[in-house]
């Protein structure tokens, strides 16, 4: 699925295994603050999203992507480009 809602739902699925503390996942959940995911894990997550949608998400994009919603927006942009 390549619409915003579908992408968001799939991102939630990809994050679930990295969320052992079962933090509630929402648009404004932040990776560093709420999920406490370290930068290496974030990079692995990026790799799986790249493979999922056959896109390139350069690492230098990451500082601007703090929340799940922002990541979903970025992926949507890349997929529809």
């Amino acid at each position: 699925m390549t619409d915003r809602a579908g992408i968001y739902a799939r991102i939630i699925e990809l994050i679930e295994p990295l969320n052992p503390k079962k933090v509630a996942l929402a648009e404004n959940t932040s990776f560093a603050g709420d999920l406490e995911i370290d930068s290496l894990t974030v990079m692995d997550l990026v790799a799986s999203m790249e493979d999922e949608w056959d896109i390139v998400m350069p690492l230098n994009m990451l500082p601007d992507l703090e929340t799940i919603g922002q990541v979903a927006d970025a992926v949507t942009r890349l997929v529809t480009k």
């Binding site: 990079m43 790249e50 056959d54 390139v56 230098n60």
Partner: protein, 408 residues
């Protein structure tokens, strides 16, 4: 007002927790006296050095020391200047000549450290709109070079030709691309399948930079590195290296055959905006590099010692990061932070210094006791090391812990 140091609180308390258990700080070792490339005095005790990257034992080579002394006397203690102003001396040019001869390349540029060489090359070669494609386990200096520059950064799975291919395929064909690889990866001591990786990079029109920090001196016919041993010298555009390992002093460099290479001296900020190496250091480096061209016997000894340590540790039941001995780094896999620190300390108290490594420096969150060999290690020292490993493991109950972890 918030304290800018608050962000370090988690690390401060993690360290305090480890040290509260009565162990010595693994990151605060002081060498009170250095007796040879393989022995130093730590805590007043003679200690076998098994974690220095002094692969070829050049730090105390008589010719190297003599060259350094002469340069110190004749050219002074420092240059007080950048390479592009008053900081290029005869010695810096001689050092670059030695590198060109060693690598059989047209151009060589000397930086003040290997860290700065990567910082400079990576940030300058790839600019806005270009892509850097780097191995996920790349050294911090490569990552920092990415962050200093303006290129788009794409990471591929460590040593995976398939993943590199997949990521290159997704990039715009017309965009400039730099693929960055290392010959030896220093955490696990594994080597890169350069033949495949470089082949894929070239098939996608990328330029290739290989960091040979841990391969210089003893891989390949001329000791140029893993890329030479892999037979891909013609397809590697840039080789980065350091003087802080096999060469036995300090400094960094890049060599290349690119016809426009020399322009880097004016556009590469980590070259331009820092002081050049002191005359004694470049004199030591040049002498050492020239000697490394004819170090066949040392190379052979280094490999022999490395294989012996690798095999000996396996035979004693240790779990190692590589199945076979791939380089002069032998990494022992440890179960957790506490056992690693205790075992590291036990080794030190038994008179053997190894490196302790922990995440995030290590890949996949592993804890390691890392050993690096020196051509000057004697067979007797190696016997002692193996014995001490066994003793230290018993002292900390390593094999009991390891069994529990495996059973989980």
């Amino acid at each position: 007002m918030s304290d800018l140091f608050s962000k370090f609180d988690p690390l401060i308390s993690e360290r305090a927790g480890v040290l509260a258990k009565g162990v010595r700080d693994p990151f605060a070792i002081v060498m009170q006296q250095v007796k040879s490339p393989t022995v130093a005095v730590i805590d007043g005790r003679d200690t076998i050095l098994l974690g220095t990257y002094n692969y070829m034992g050049m730090t105390f080579d008589a010719d190297v020391i003599a060259a350094g002394e002469t340069a110190l006397r004749d050219f002074g203690a420092g240059t007080t200047g950048s390479r592009v102003l008053n900081g290029t001396y005869q010695g810096h040019k001689e050092c670059e000549e030695a590198l060109k001869d060693f690598y059989g390349m047209e151009h060589a540029i000397v930086f003040s450290t290997g860290y700065l060489a990567n910082l400079g090359m990576v940030s300058t070669l790839a600019g806005k709109g270009d892509y850097i494609i780097l191995d996920a386990d790349s050294h911090a200096s490569i990552y920092d070079g990415c962050y200093l520059g303006n290129a788009d950064i794409v990471r591929f799975k460590h040593n995976s030709a398939e993943d590199l291919e997949k990521r290159l395929r997704r990039l715009p064909p017309e965009a400039g691309k730099l693929v960055i690889l290392e010959g030896v990866y220093s955490m696990l001591g594994d080597i890169a399948p350069l033949k495949e990786l470089v082949g894929i990079a070239k098939a996608h029109g990328a330029m290739v930079l290989v960091d040979e920090a841990h391969g210089m001196g003893f891989f390949g016919e001329h000791g140029r590195g893993v890329y030479e041993a892999a037979g891909v010298a013609d397809d590697v555009d840039f080789v980065v290296g350091t003087f802080s390992k096999s060469v036995g002093t300090v400094g960094g460099f890049c060599v290349s055959n690119h016809p426009k290479f020399e322009i880097l001296r004016l556009v590469c900020r980590p070259y331009t905006f820092t002081a050049s190496l002191p005359p004694a250091v470049v004199a030591c480096a040049a002498t050492s590099i020239r000697k490394l061209m004819h170090a066949g016997e040392k190379r052979q000894r280094l490999w022999e010692m490395s294989r012996k340590l690798h095999g000996g540790l396996l035979a004693r039941g240790f779990r190692l990061a590589t199945e076979t001995c791939e380089s002069a780094i032998v990494s022992v896999l440890m179960p957790d932070q506490e056992t690693t620190v205790r075992m590291w300390q036990a080794m030190l108290e038994l008179g053997v210094y190894v490196n302790m490594s922990r995440p995030p420096a290590t890949p996949a969150g592993v804890f390691l006791l890392r050993c690096s060999l020196c051509a000057e290690h004697s067979a007797a020292q190696l016997e002692i090391v193996l014995e001490r490993f066994g003793q230290a493991a018993a002292m900390v109950g390593l094999f009991e812990t390891a069994v529990e972890v495996a059973a989980e």
